[in-house]
Symmetry: C2
Amino acid sequence: MKKQDPSKKLEELGKKLVQDIDKGKNPTIEFSLRSLSNVIFDEKSKTLTLGDKTQQRSFFNVSHAKKFLQTLEIAKVSKILLDVSKHASLRDVFYMAKRTIPNSNINIVDDQSESDKALEDLELITDCSREQLNINANKMGSVAGNVVIEDAGDLINWSKLGSGGWSIPSNVENIEFKSVKAKYVIYMEKQAVWERLHEDKFWEKQNCIIVTSQGQTTRGIRRLLQRLTEEHSLPIYVLADFDPWGFYIYSVLKYGSINLAHMSGTMTLQNARFLGITADDVANYDLKKHFIKFKDVDMTRLKQIAEYDWFKKNKAWQRQFKMMKDFGAKLEIQSLSSKGITFISEKYLPEKIKRGEFLE
Amino acid sequence: MKKQDPSKKLEELGKKLVQDIDKGKNPTIEFSLRSLSNVIFDEKSKTLTLGDKTQQRSFFNVSHAKKFLQTLEIAKVSKILLDVSKHASLRDVFYMAKRTIPNSNINIVDDQSESDKALEDLELITDCSREQLNINANKMGSVAGNVVIEDAGDLINWSKLGSGGWSIPSNVENIEFKSVKAKYVIYMEKQAVWERLHEDKFWEKQNCIIVTSQGQTTRGIRRLLQRLTEEHSLPIYVLADFDPWGFYIYSVLKYGSINLAHMSGTMTLQNARFLGITADDVANYDLKKHFIKFKDVDMTRLKQIAEYDWFKKNKAWQRQFKMMKDFGAKLEIQSLSSKGITFISEKYLPEKIKRGEFLE
């Protein structure tokens, strides 16, 4: 997907529609159907992806006309952004598209969900990601390690950024890796755990890169992880809570999600492995007393995840799910702090990585 | 508060209790009462602060004993952290304190709210902030500008960090400003707006520093802003949505909050000014069509804020509240994008700052 020229793709779209008009045909866009019925788990690529069904959107069709206009309006906004080399957020794009159709009192979009949806369609139509179309997602995350990058004209050394680290932007398509000295990447869902490892200089001692978001992984971070693994062959280890939500973070990173099925090529991490916290850690590190009892919603979520296509026939994971169910409890990464402040960086992680105790 | 030696303060606390025991007295800690009845708005310092009421906590008192133990346990955890020069998050501290009292089945703390509360008490007892006690809050935010700092042995130039910027750590007590070239600081609640200004090199063109969190300001960011204004006399301009929540962000930054009344000295920004979005911008920049209609909860929140001591007699603010009420609507910063991608950085902000259109 990286090699597409988004500007050219948008121009092609425009030309195609002008041709339709010149031929006296109904201007029509055709693209993959993005609905649950067309989301499949591709056993070969091991990702959630779109099937063969397509949908059409025509101008002279009462039920299509508004969506058709919205799609073209977003294409226009994106083209302007690309032309002037600026980026905008989803919210900005919504406001840019929210204008009144002349001689009417109808707005092109009234709600951000409309412009978001049109943009997702545009990703499919152009085969370019939102980021390539210069439209940014949220940012929120930090990284540290022995890595030098070039970004927006600056040379940035991820090992020289104090206690804060580099703030990962929402769009990492244009950063360039100048030097990457690391054996692996640890991605963790919690900022506080990242600060722990960073203060302990874990990345320096273990020769790795540490990355965090806060909660669900943002698109910027996913792309950063994907670029590190694809361009520098680094394995990705996921450090998350022992709870259905932690499993879900791993699942989305590795296999994709229904919302992003059309982006599985640039957004999934085939070689991500789950490092912990696992059910086995409970006994191995004597963590039972820090169990947090399941609520009904946790049990429901666990059952859903256990039924995912990619986990269904996976014995190692089913064993984890079963143990969690039997515990009727979850466990946080930070419960390791009960063993001492630096237990996680000096004992738990080095031990587990050395022994190769990963779930896949 | 900066000059306190937290280790010494903790030692003093321990010695005082040992003296009580040696004298055959009931070991007792006395400190300011932290309850709504003792939170006052100090007209002189213009902050929410604690009054004169105090509370006692004694070991031989059935209703005090557990809290007494919790407070001492957190003091112990903090002392260990200070001794080994490590930092921990609130969640870590909870797990460190969550141990079973020997010969019983009672845990010192069962829930993080208990260790958090004990820590807040410890802030009062020692007159040291949580950060000075090496216990970190959440981090989440970015900064850029013509500033060089030293942090954890690294020299970091905020003007050379690409599109990401420096990720503000949860604890900024130990950073050192080496060079600060700026006329003012703009703090904005939205990452996406920060990315807009950063891409447009706003800080370079306007000679300022741009800071963001996402939503409510974290403690790390507040302290960073406070240090910039105190140590470098920089005015702070707040850029927030035109809604009661945006006003609240400003209010907490400038006057403090009930939860942080005991920290008003290090956490409030006396000279913060509200830059926008204001009710006047609606007409001046023709933004009416981007109004978002009030829900009941918005109106309730607006009424509460209008009743705050520090806003009650402030005519400029009451005028804003009145206009918002009459509009029955709120407005987002990003609605400025409807005027063009760089409208905010090339027109709106320079114009307003030049004209000195601030609310105070």
